[in-house]
């Protein structure tokens, strides 16, 4: 049985008392994210060609793409930030920011039950000649849920 009066934590506690605390005053003082930290997915609608590869490879099924309606949408709260979509995008429309995704409140659920964190882009249809032929890509409906 060790000596009951010899508490090894006491000097440590006393030293802490006079030294600088290790914590931050969080909402007022925020440590910047490291370079290369994996945060939210950012999307450039201009370069996207709606190939749907990102949606098909996403393990969390967070990305929905509609070729007919020319929309690209992501559920930021479903996204697991693995970065696969960024890797597979041949047009480099997708990138990953270092910022972590925002906190969402229950009150942000929209009147139609839209989920918070739902982000959607829509590109107006250009003239028919602008659409490059993307042969071999299956119809949008069939590609869902890959």
């Amino acid at each position: 049985m060790p000596n009951p009066l010899k508490l090894p934590m006491i000097p440590r506690a006393l030293r802490n008392l006079v030294s600088k605390p290790a914590t931050r005053r969080y909402p007022f003082e925020i440590r910047p994210r490291f370079a290369g930290a994996r945060g939210t997915i950012e999307f450039d609608v201009e370069t996207c060609n709606y190939c749907m590869l990102c949606a098909r490879r996403c393990p969390a099924a967070a990305i929905t793409v509609s070729r007919e309606e020319r929309t690209w949408a992501i559920e930021q709260l479903t996204c697991i930030a693995c970065g696969v979509c960024v890797d597979v995008c041949s047009k480099h429309s997708l990138s990953m920011s270092v910022n972590s995704r925002a906190v969402h409140l229950r009150s942000e659920v929209g009147p139609q039950g839209q989920r918070p964190g739902h982000e959607e882009w829509h590109k107006p249809a250009p003239a028919a000649t602008d659409i490059p032929a993307v042969a071999g890509v299956p119809a949008p409906a069939a590609s869902q849920g890959a």
């Binding site: 508490l7 934590m9 440590r12 290369g36 393990p59 693995c82």
Partner: protein, 361 residues
Amino acid sequence: MRRTTIPFGPQHPVLPEPLVLDLILEDEKVIDAIPTIGYIHRGLEMMVERVEYTEMGFVVERICGICSFMHGMGYCVSLESIMNVEVPERAGWLRLIWAEISRIQSHLLWLGLGADAFGFENLFMHCWRMREQILDIFEKTTGGRIIHSVNRIGGVKRDISDSELAAILVQLQELGEAFKTTARVFGTDPSIAHRLGGVGVLSMEDARAVDAVGPMARASGIATDTRLIGANFYDRIELEPVTETAGDCLARVVVRLREIDQSIDIVRQAIEKMPKGEGLPLENKPRGNPNGEVFTRLEQPRGEVLYYVKANGTKNLERFRARTPTFANIPAMIKLVKGCDLADVPNIILTIDPCISCTER
């Protein structure tokens, strides 16, 4: 005669995990403990039917928030051996380094939780403070603090520059030195000796009989360590399993304390032995779809993990199974909980380092 029934879990604050136990008490002596699992089943293994094998690794990583790197690694190693993909040497060493840093992180987290369970808040703070710095290393090198997503079938996604590796090693060694004062508290504090010493003693014979794994077995004097089989570059590391003989809760703490030092040393050896330079290959991409089946064993911080993968030549695997170390250690835990005090229950449960979420996937 009437006895007290305590519903211990699934949502008990002393447990980091949804373990379910019915404790039957007299005074505070545990007469019987009735366990059950299945509370948190998430169906991750079933997801192989939907997620293609190339992305399944990211799902597998999410089996656990603490050994996430090792789960991803185990999956990739399994697929690599089915598809006969050779991992580039630097990638293999990087995996080993990350794996050992994971071990340090896991042990620190566990030590903190253990301290919290026996009511030593200050010690908990100290362990977790050091763990934060390890998580910073992960964030710098992999981009994520908990979920890293750097493992790919055939290698790793990111490189760590040689200068940064050297800096990490220095940082780890400094942390290791600083942690010695905290470690001494675990070893010498009389109030901790009162709570852990002689509590939940698992003899070597019992440990063998219930097939304990990892630190649980090593604290009972069994020199078992899956790293000794030498896969994943461990054959190039000098490694002596950390063992203790007392078999009580305190021994299990001490094993993990010593393994932190051991892991720092393994990281040092790896950095010395790995090929240096910029732009070395990190990934050999597999071709086609896998076909065949394989078992993979790894030594996670909690003990031996077992993966079974069966592929049938399609994009989706036919079967994926993971047997986590917690599952292997639950019989030992139940054995120890019977006959102990209620106040010992959290300590005994925690010293197997339970991850029920991994167990129930």
